[in-house]
């Protein structure tokens, strides 16, 4: 774990996260979350759906920020070298997030949080990568902004995935403490119980979407890079520049698409609620 991860996961990072409950406020309004056990179920479900997806997207964004070209053709790129428009990799990744976020309210909230995080990250960890992201996608989705910020802070894709997995449960847990007056120690006990799952979610997310190229072997240092044999069914993009040894690449076709319809519905109901304390 890179030490910068501590800053990226700290609720005191001034990027607006304190005002988001990730559906918890609406789950409380609906009665689904009303005590510590029901919050535990909500957090576990959130981690393994929205959290796992966001972790994979953040890992992909972090690997993308590392500057290596895509290992395979991005899905929007058509055969024969015909690009689907002139979308760069940031725009493409951002569209991948859109395609996986069914609720319009969640898309808007994700972009708002991403924009605020990018603003903070550009001041705290100035980087050409963040400048390029801001140019290509001024309002990036939150996992994309966090993955890029993690790279700018010199953290690795798995760090980014872990940070996002933690965000997926820590903010909602705090919101429940504030709204229900739950015992904060009991709720932190829930978070502690989830830490093994956080690690698993982050590792799985990272393994799914990135391919690490081992450092060059002395005998093969000058050999051309080989296609990733685990990328079954995905053709290597002949137009893509060669991978750098020791680098990490994004496997676009392996981006997961977990969904949580209940969270989608909660987000839509929340956006229409007359009385609310949290943005989401």
């Amino acid at each position: 774990m890179h030490p910068a991860l501590l800053l990226l996961t700290d609720s005191r990072l001034p990027a607006g996260g304190h005002a988001h409950s990730g559906g918890t406020e609406q789950a409380i309004t609906s009665g689904a979350v009303h005590d510590v056990p029901s919050l535990a179920r909500f957090l576990r479900g959130r981690l393994h759906t929205a959290g796992a997806l966001a972790a994979a997207l953040a890992a992909a964004a972090c690997a993308q920020a590392a500057g290596t070209p895509p290992a395979t053709a991005p899905p929007h790129r058509l055969p024969g070298g015909q690009a689907g428009g002139d979308a760069g990799p940031w725009v493409t990744l951002d569209r991948e997030v859109d395609a996986r976020t069914a609720s319009p309210a969640q898309r808007e909230v994700s972009r708002t949080q991403g924009r605020l995080l990018l603003r903070v990250a550009r001041r705290v960890w100035p980087s050409p990568v963040l400048d390029e992201l801001a140019r290509a996608v001024p309002h990036p989705h939150h996992p994309v902004a966090l993955g890029a910020a993690a790279h700018a802070a010199r953290a690795a894709p798995e760090d980014a995935a872990l940070a996002v997995a933690y965000h997926a449960v820590s903010g909602p847990a705090t919101a429940a403490v504030r709204l229900l007056g739950l015992d904060p120690v009991a709720v932190h006990g829930l978070l502690a119980d989830l830490t093994p799952a956080l690690g698993t979610v982050a590792a799985d997310a990272c393994m799914a979407v990135t391919t690490e190229h081992p450092p060059p072997h002395p005998k093969t240092a000058h050999a051309p890079p080989q296609p990733d044999p685990t990328d079954a069914g995905v053709r290597p993009d002949p137009a893509a520049p060669a991978a750098q040894p020791g680098s990490v690449q994004v496997r676009w076709a392996a981006l997961p698409a977990y969904s949580a319809p209940a969270l989608d519905l909660l987000a839509e109901q929340h956006a229409r609620a007359e009385i609310r304390l949290f943005v989401s």
């Binding site: 005191r12 990072l13 001034p14 990027a15 607006g16 996260g17 304190h18 005002a19 988001h20 409950s21 708002t112 924009r115 605020l116 603003r119 903070v120 550009r122 001041r123 100035p126 400048d131 919101a175 504030r178 709204l179 007359e274 009385i275 609310r276 304390l277 949290f278 943005v279």
Partner: protein
């Protein structure tokens, strides 16, 4: 640092942008009424924007829109997740975003007012969000409040004591409040108002107008 240095990673130095005025204070002291009065008084001569930080819903923003003192598109509401003081002090991201959104849509603006959610005496605006701040008390909160201090009372650029028309009814001694306030505030100004009796809030509006004038003089737009 060369002439082409791209410095947008750093906090802007304020050149060419509007003065950002924070209006804070306890619940019910008259913050929204003051903001409405300032919009009424200054709207004809200045280009304004307002950001509200409601505790619940968009009550304050709706009040301002309903009051018709400002084009309603120039009023943005920020939700604060149960922590109004966090949103103006520790994590100002959402408020900064709202301020910059207004400047982007309607700029150049002369003044953006950020009204905090009603809070307690420890609330204060970050200097990263507000260039100047007004703290609003009312006499019905008790005439001991200025003596109790707190960062809003002691360090706000202007302290407004509102609802002076109620002083006799709640047994508040305005002389005591003035004396205690000046004891903790030194030279910083204190103004007594009754927005209900004097909706034009002439003194406060004059102070704000002077702050805007001084700000624009000190932070001219860079030559392009």
């Amino acid at each position: 640092m060369g002439i082409h240095h791209d410095d947008h990673h750093h906090a802007p130095d304020g050149r060419g942008r509007a003065l950002r005025l924070g209006v804070g204070g306890p619940v019910g002291s008259g913050k929204t009424a003051l903001v409405a009065a300032l919009c009424r008084a200054l709207g004809p001569s200045l280009s304004l924007g307002v950001v509200t930080n409601d505790i619940y819903t968009t009550e304050d923003a709706d009040f301002l829109r309903g009051a018709g003192v400002l084009d309603e598109e120039r009023i943005l509401a920020v939700e604060t997740g149960c922590c109004p003081h966090t949103a103006i002090r520790d994590d100002i991201a959402a408020n900064l975003d709202a301020v910059e959104t207004l400047e982007h849509r309607f700029g150049p603006l002369d003044l953006v007012i950020v009204e905090s959610g009603g809070d307690n005496l420890t609330a204060t605006f970050s200097r990263g969000l507000a260039d100047r701040q007004i703290f609003v008390l009312d006499v019905s909160g008790g005439d001991k409040v200025p003596r109790k201090g707190g960062p809003g009372v002691t360090s706000a650029d202007l302290l407004v004591v509102n609802k002076t028309d109620l002083a006799s009814m709640v047994g508040a001694d305005l002389g005591v409040m003035a004396r205690d306030a000046s004891a903790v505030r030194g030279e910083r100004p204190v103004m007594f108002t009754s927005i209900r009796r004097d909706p034009a809030v002439g003194d406060v509006a004059g102070w704000v107008a002077e702050q805007v004038r001084a700000w624009s003089h000190a932070h001219p737009a860079p030559l392009s």
